[in-house]
């Protein structure tokens, strides 16, 4: 009796989920399909899901255009910015988390709580002075303008510290008796063990940096230096009348995070539960 009831709700859920997932994927699929249509086809034919003539020229034209909307250039800039941010975040986060988890010093908890508390302030409040600092440093329109602010957050330290705290102190202890220094303990014992959580931090830093919109649209005015996410805003203005090419631009911009997701879906989803375990 009970199993029957459970089976029924399972079937009902299944049917609902199929309908919803079709609705969910449609906008994206329609965008992808439209990027293979010619502009004439787009404007003349009524509703048609698949292209009548599949063309790739939207993509090739877009990648070759280097004057007003250098999409390929933006793409490379984004790789440099997101890659750089990820490397810097991994370095400073693992070092700082190590100190908070393994080293004893005065005011350790106060400092940690202070760092977490500052995350309460919404980012709007520091954007204007941050812009000024970047221009003073001569870093506006350079990758540094995005790489350094990416490494200010305390949440990553929180996650990594949490993970480190679960590594038994006995490991450090044994190494210390063998004469290992703090640095050696960090480098040889801790670092290999925290690889899973660092991988999660890396994925989120990369996608977060790739998708950042407000800050780069302020700090990048040079069209050749900007990353692709604010670049798409310019693209939108330039290709108002050429929807298929505009779609091609958006598709190019989402390819890297999409591939990362395909490769590391498990880690993306796992990381969400990591932060739940902590907060729940």
């Amino acid at each position: 009796m009970k199993n029957k009831k459970q089976g029924a709700s399972q079937w009902l859920s299944f049917i609902f989920l199929i309908l919803l997932s079709i609705i969910w994927i449609m906008p994206l699929l329609y965008g992808v399909m439209s990027s293979f249509k010619s502009n004439i086809e787009m404007q003349s034919v009524g509703f048609k899901f698949l292209p009548i003539n599949w063309i790739l020229t939207n993509y090739s034209d877009l990648l070759q255009n280097t004057a007003n909307t250098p999409v390929f250039r933006w793409f490379l800039n984004s790789i440099v910015i997101s890659g750089g941010s990820t490397i810097l975040v991994l370095i400073v986060t693992s070092l700082s988390a190590f100190a908070f988890s393994r080293l004893r010093f005065k005011g350790r908890n106060v400092l940690f709580i202070f760092l977490l508390a500052t995350m309460m302030f919404p980012p709007v409040m520091n954007i204007i002075p941050l812009y000024k600092i970047m221009t003073l440093l001569g870093w506006a329109n350079t990758p540094w303008a995005m790489i350094f602010p990416a490494a200010t957050g305390a949440f990553n330290i929180f996650l990594v510290r949490q993970f480190m705290d679960n590594i038994p102190l006995a490991y450090d202890e044994a190494a210390r008796i063998d004469g290992a220094s703090d640095w050696q303990i960090f480098r040889i014992i801790i670092l290999p063990l925290i690889k899973p959580v660092l991988f999660v931090v890396a994925l989120f830093t990369f996608t977060g940096s790739w998708n950042d919109f407000l800050w780069p649209s302020i700090v990048f005015s040079d069209i050749n230096k900007m990353p692709i996410t604010p670049g798409l805003k310019l693209l939108q203005g330039m290709y108002v009348a050429d929807i298929p090419t505009l779609m091609a631009g958006a598709i190019i911009a989402i390819i890297p995070t999409f591939i990362l997701y395909l490769v590391a879906q498990k880690y993306f989803l796992q990381s969400m539960s990591l932060s739940v375990g902590v907060k729940g």
Binding site: S13, W24, G46, F47, V124, Y131, A253, Y261, F268, M272
Partner: protein
């Protein structure tokens, strides 16, 4: 035990002089944090009390900016009232959907149907994309001339250019874009509820709805609270959707406060960084007050 062992290895290491100062490990983050977050934050609050054009030295003007924005009959007062109202309107409409839609998805996925992993992956997918890419994709869907909504159903609606459709399109896009994270959080929470609770309720003959209200919801209260607060904060920062989808229109009816902040400080013409900072401080205070009220209300229910 950990305490004891820590002491003993501290003694060992003191003898061997292998302990480096903890500050060395903290320094990289603290330096970056101070220069690129903390100083700008303090400075940002300070310039809210100044007249500044981003170039010359800021001139301290006391509470003038706030008086100007909050009480005078200026354009900035209009910007604040309409911008803040539109932001709050968006928060009020979107947050319930951004909680209830992923919650229902999580409940359905929790019945462990076939392909659950696939569905989960699919609903999470949009949250990996940038707002600019998402808006471009949806701008085709809502395009009045060539968009599938109008061409497929033979409608003739100017979706992003008339109210209430402009807000509806923004909310639909936002729900589509953001629910993945909350869904995963709810799934993990639902998974953690012991099955015996439901079995006991079954014996008492409780209906599904009763079980949901009396077992499921109380069990995931912590996660609900957490997601309601974080979702509200996230939606308060709305900027990209109206900027790129409706351009703040029709007639400025979707112009949110962040757009005014950005325009005043970095738009064409002379920068009004002081006014703009004061506006962002007001927005920041609103966000903090709302999240504290939420924490308070939701905590005290028990």
């Amino acid at each position: 035990m950990a305490e004891v062992s820590l002491k003993s290895h501290e003694q060992v290491s003191k003898h061997k002089r292998t302990r480096s100062h903890p500050f060395v490990y903290l320094l990289p983050h603290l330096a970056i944090f101070t220069i690129f977050f903390f100083i700008p934050l303090i400075f940002g609050i300070y310039i809210a009390f100044t007249k500044w054009d981003l170039v010359r030295t800021p001139v301290f003007v006391g509470l003038d900016n706030f008086k100007n924005i909050l009480f005078s009959n200026s354009i900035f007062h209009d910007q604040l009232t309409s911008g803040l109202w539109h932001t709050i309107l968006f928060v009020l409409i979107s947050v319930p959907f951004c909680v209830l839609v992923p919650l229902s998805l999580a409940v359905m996925l929790n019945t462990k149907p076939k392909f659950a992993k696939f569905f989960q992956g699919l609903f999470y997918l949009p949250s990996l994309f940038s707002i600019s890419a998402v808006v471009i994709v949806w701008s085709l869907i809502f395009n009045p001339n060539y968009g599938p909504l109008n061409t497929l159903f033979n409608w003739n609606q100017v979706w992003t250019g008339t109210q209430p459709w402009a807000w509806i399109t923004i909310v639909v896009l936002t729900v589509w874009w953001t629910i993945g994270g909350n869904m995963i959080i709810y799934q993990a929470a639902l998974n953690g509820i012991p099955q015996d609770y439901y079995e006991a309720a079954d014996i008492d003959g409780a209906s599904s709805w009763k079980k949901f209200v009396h077992i499921t919801l109380p069990s995931i209260r912590g996660q609900l609270l957490f997601t309601i607060v974080t979702t509200t904060i996230a939606q308060f920062n709305i900027y990209g959707q109206p900027l790129m989808l409706t351009n703040g229109g029709p007639n400025g009816s979707t112009t949110v406060l962040m757009m005014n902040v950005q325009q005043n400080a970095f738009g064409s013409g002379q920068s009004l960084a002081g006014i703009s900072s004061a506006m962002s401080v007001i927005l920041g205070i609103c966000i903090m007050i709302v999240s504290m009220v939420q924490l308070f209300l939701l905590r005290n229910k028990d």
